[in-house]
């Protein structure tokens, strides 16, 4: 060991005037950190890739023959549902990743460094959104390869992409908040299974809401994931959903849901983060 090798400069306080620039820089660095983990922990992509693909195969070739939806081929009915469901599964992925991060010492190190605290969370969110985008691209390509035919105008395509990205951000922030509230990644998986899983199945994903029993139908009519699925289906297949205000105006309803989720989850997550104790 070489005793003179240590950097002789005493750390200089970071100039305060560059807070905004520092925030952007730190966010980019921390986003890059999250992205580097993707090829090294590919199983993190399972939630948003393999799982939807398994559901596609199961419902297209196993259960699908028993499901008949009036006026649309089951393939075209199914893929928008899968897209909505995999976006919703992003909540679980983000929650597990966040609760993993919170139980590791590295976040403590970031917090004890002259790093903007907001950037630690936004770095996490950006990384998760990139993961969700990657997963979504894979799922969509898989769908197209199996013969899904979305009918999109340019305007509808832009609207669809905009809505999906907005939903990714909203769901990721929700996942980040849940991830900070639960005690362990396992607990997050549990919540995902008990809450997100049924909500994503009831949302007109695989079978029409109108045929459901009264209680699940009432839940499904106001399930945010229903609005998402109805939006995607409306934009890609030109279908019209009915049953509740949000199903009649799914794009607007979904946009409002996203704004609401962000308005609630972002401040709560930040507040929680400033208080969290790592294990």
């Amino acid at each position: 060991m070489n005793a003179t090798a240590i950097n002789p400069h005493v750390s200089a306080p970071v100039p305060q005037g560059f807070a905004a620039r520092r925030y952007v820089r730190d966010t980019l660095l921390l986003t890059a950190r999250s992205l580097r983990a993707i090829p090294r922990v590919p199983e993190r992509l399972l939630d948003v890739t393999i799982q939807p693909i398994v559901f596609i195969l199961l419902f297209l070739y196993v259960f699908g023959s028993a499901i008949h939806v009036h006026g649309i081929s089951y393939k075209d009915y199914l893929f928008p549902g899968i897209i909505g469901q995999s976006l919703a599964f992003g909540i679980i992925g983000a929650g597990v990743a966040t609760s993993n991060d919170m139980t590791e010492g590295v976040v403590d190190r970031f917090r004890s460094m002259p790093v903007s605290r907001l950037s630690i969370i936004t770095g996490q969110v950006m990384g998760q959104v990139c993961e969700a985008l990657l997963g979504m691209t894979i799922v969509v390509c898989f769908g197209l390869a199996l013969g899904w035919h979305p009918h999109l105008t340019l305007a509808h395509a832009l609207e669809l992409v905009g809505l999906m990205v907005l939903a990714m951000f909203a769901f990721t922030w929700a996942g980040v908040l849940f991830g900070m509230l639960v005690r362990s990644p396992d607990a997050m998986q549990g919540i995902g299974f008990i809450v997100i899983f049924p909500l994503s199945f009831m949302a007109g994903t695989f079978v029409p809401i109108s045929g459901m029993d009264a209680i699940p139908r009432a839940i499904a009519q106001w399930d945010p994931i229903s609005a998402l699925v109805a939006s995607v289906r409306g934009l890609t297949q030109g279908t019209h959903s009915t049953g509740s205000w949000q199903l009649e105006h799914p794009q607007l309803a979904m946009a409002l849901w996203c704004v609401l989720i962000l308005a609630v989850c972002v401040p709560l997550a930040l507040r929680r983060f400033n208080r969290t104790l790592a294990a």
Partner: protein
């Protein structure tokens, strides 16, 4: 504007720091002063409040009461500036396990505002210094505990901090890795780094610290140099262990008239105060040799911090967590052949 720290500003100045978690008071009105260029150790068993104290000082926890300044900067009001003068290495390796050793160091350097070329230079020097080269490209999750700790320490020294805080740096390490950490800490201290070190190992505080603050249940039990703490417990003594109980009686008769002996029957030991250390040891040894009483051992015992903890708190340090450190048979002793 906050005042400019001067060399005479203490590295840490804390008054009445308190932190409660619900009903549980983790840190209870603790004062702490660490002068620049010194090593202070917070010593206490598991759950004594060491980590909570460190986390308040490192701006990770907001104190419920009291105040603390790091290099003259308030840990609550000027938290952001405090973060730029301290470096915390926590109890668990604070690294991203999905990055390699070198990527971790590069990331920390970039987050501290270093451009690519300067980051490369600093990280290169740290890799050399901490012998990281052979595993620089390995993912942190695949490193051994000792290797992680080295990367962890390196990450804490990207910018030379005014105050380095090491929270239980050797907990869970094998003896060899512990030695590496100790020698690194000694080097840093020789370079003038101010260090706050928490430990539950008494010998560690004894070996590294200028001042030791003993804490238990969030309160200060005692503070001083390791020597002062030992002095509070009692002086050094020579212990003579008899071969059997007859020999013990002989020993007591032999030494009783000349010294203020105390006899521990169960241990077959006669203890003699030894203010003059080796000279007293030689005197006792000469008497025993001339009398031809059969003894197993004659040894000069210095009170250890174990003794200090036992005497000051009424229980052994870390007795729930670390039986070894509290085992009186592990006291260092200078022995002479009987």
């Amino acid at each position: 504007m906050p005042k400019i720290p001067t060399p005479s500003t203490p590295a840490i100045e804390a008054h009445g720091l308190t932190k409660r978690f619900g009903q549980f008071t983790a840190v209870d009105q603790l004062d702490l002063c660490v002068e620049n260029g010194t090593v202070v150790s917070l010593l206490g068993p598991n759950g004594a409040g060491k980590t909570t104290m460190v986390r308040m000082l490192a701006t990770l926890l907001r104190p419920d009461a009291g105040s603390a300044r790091i290099a003259g900067l308030d840990v609550v009001a000027e938290a952001d500036r405090v973060r730029s003068v301290i470096s915390l290495t926590g109890q668990f390796a604070a690294l991203d396990k999905h990055l390699t050793a070198e990527e971790n160091l590069r990331l920390m350097a970039a987050l501290r505002g270093h451009r690519r070329s300067s980051a490369r230079q600093i990280v290169g020097a740290l890799i050399e210094r901490f012998d990281i080269d052979e595993f620089r490209d390995r993912l942190v999750k695949n490193l051994s505990g000792g290797q992680r700790r080295r990367v962890d320490l390196a990450a804490g020294l990207i910018d030379r901090p005014q105050l380095l805080v090491l929270d239980e740096p050797t907990t869970g390490l094998d003896p060899r890795s512990r030695q590496v950490v100790w020698s690194t800490v000694r080097e840093l201290v020789a370079e003038g780094v101010t260090l706050l070190l928490t430990t539950q190992y008494l010998e560690e505080a004894d070996a590294l610290a200028d001042r030791v603050v003993l804490i238990d249940h969030g309160r200060e039990v005692a503070a001083g140099t390791p020597a002062q703490l030992k002095a509070q417990v009692g002086e050094q003594r020579v212990d003579v262990v008899a071969a059997d109980s007859d020999a013990l009686d002989h020993l007591a008769e032999l030494l009783g008239p000349q010294f203020e002996t105390s006899v521990a029957r169960e241990q077959r030991t006669v203890s003699v105060p030894a203010p003059e250390e080796a000279a007293d040891l030689a005197r006792v040894a000469a008497l025993v040799r001339d009398s031809r009483v059969a003894v197993d051992e004659i040894a000069l015992r210095r009170p250890t911090l174990d003794d200090a903890f036992l005497a000051l708190t009424g229980h052994a340090a870390g007795e729930d967590a670390d039986a070894d450190a509290a085992d009186p048979d592990h006291r260092p002793a200078e022995e002479v052949a009987a």
